[in-house]
């Protein structure tokens, strides 16, 4: 397709999309106003199920099926990257070299690694109570582990990274989310319905199914991101073409 034809096609599609978006947005409440029809309903529904963090209530209860789709996308993309970046027939592995690190960088990494792990664990554990949750905490946990690469080198990261266990944990956690939905189905309330005991408002053990799904998502995201980064790191540091000098 020629350049002008592509530009025309884009402009036509952009015009249609712009018209549709503007039409859809005319009925929205004004920016920063006091009237939030969706927010008020979501807060009422979240509070009714003893969930303090309404965002988690929307993600893992009111719209749990949408989040299942999103988690499957993450799982699928980690799987896709793992398959594409696997060791090819004409590639071999070399041993990663020990690398010199500035003392200040070492101090920075060694101090922040446990702190970041703690923050990540806190974010996952309190997902049903305060801002954060399985996704945010999972990413923080995965990032924390990679501070070892910043503070030392790839050999140290490999030693503290239980990759085989994380591979399995990623798949198990993704499956757990889908399986947890069956609880509601078994009790006759519908797939992913929140039918577990709701507990006391603003306690760790509140919100029923939200806390359980939140934990599964935390495991899935943390292990998924570590596995994804492991394949990229292997490619960047260890894997060489057989033609390449070692």
């Amino acid at each position: 397709m020629s350049r002008t034809a592509r530009l025309r096609l884009f402009l036509a599609a952009a015009a249609v999309l712009a018209a549709a978006l503007i039409t859809a947005a005319t009925e929205l409440p004004g920016f920063g106003g006091h009237h939030h029809p969706y927010g008020e309903r979501a807060v009422a529904a979240g509070l009714a199920r003893q969930t303090a963090n309404i965002i988690s209530s929307v993600n893992f209860d009111q719209r749990a099926f949408d989040t299942l789709g999103e988690e499957s996308i993450l799982f699928g993309s980690v799987l896709g990257a793992a398959i594409l970046l696997r060791l090819a027939r004409d590639e071999g592995k070399r041993r990663a070299a020990a690398e010199p690190v500035l003392p200040t960088t070492r101090l920075f990494g060694a101090t922040l690694l446990p702190v970041t792990l703690l923050v990540g664990g806190y974010l996952v554990a309190h997902g049903q109570l305060s801002p954060g949750g399985g996704f945010q905490g999972g990413v923080a946990l995965a990032t924390a582990l990679h501070l070892a690469y910043v503070a030392a080198d790839y050999r140290v990261l490999k030693r503290i990274r239980p990759l085989a266990a994380l591979d399995v944990a990623d798949a198990l956690a993704a499956g757990t989310y889908a399986a947890l939905g069956l609880i509601g189905l078994a009790q006759g309330a519908g797939y992913l319905a929140n039918t577990l005991p709701l507990g006391t408002f603003n306690q760790m053990s509140s919100s029923g199914l939200v806390a359980v799904i939140n934990a599964a998502v935390g495991v899935e995201v943390a292990s998924g991101v570590v596995v994804l980064l492991a394949h990229f790191l292997d490619q960047a540091v260890e894997i060489v073409h057989n033609g390449e000098n070692r």
Binding site: G32, N53, I55, L123, P131, G132, G133, F135, Q136, V139, A140, A142, T143, H146, V225, L228, L229, F232, L233, Q235, A236, V240, H241, G243, E244, N245, R246
Partner: protein
Amino acid sequence: MTNALTVIALLLTAVTATTAALTREPVRQAVVLAFLGLCLALLFTVLQAPDVALSQLGVGSAITPLLILLTVRRVRRQEQADEHPDRTE
């Protein structure tokens, strides 16, 4: 006051996003993207969406730039090996 903060965060985001789109060199772009993630996290915090801000901070400022940098490193190593087949890396 809140409005002023929102406007500042929006302007910062627009400027950084434009810079990211105009930066063509991948390594520099990764750094600009990390900064864009920071600006977006600030914007989401000002708009009272701390959950989204946390996601943005983790994915936009840490994971994405890291993936880009690792990819660039791998590709450059390959290019070097192709140009100087007799020299060890």
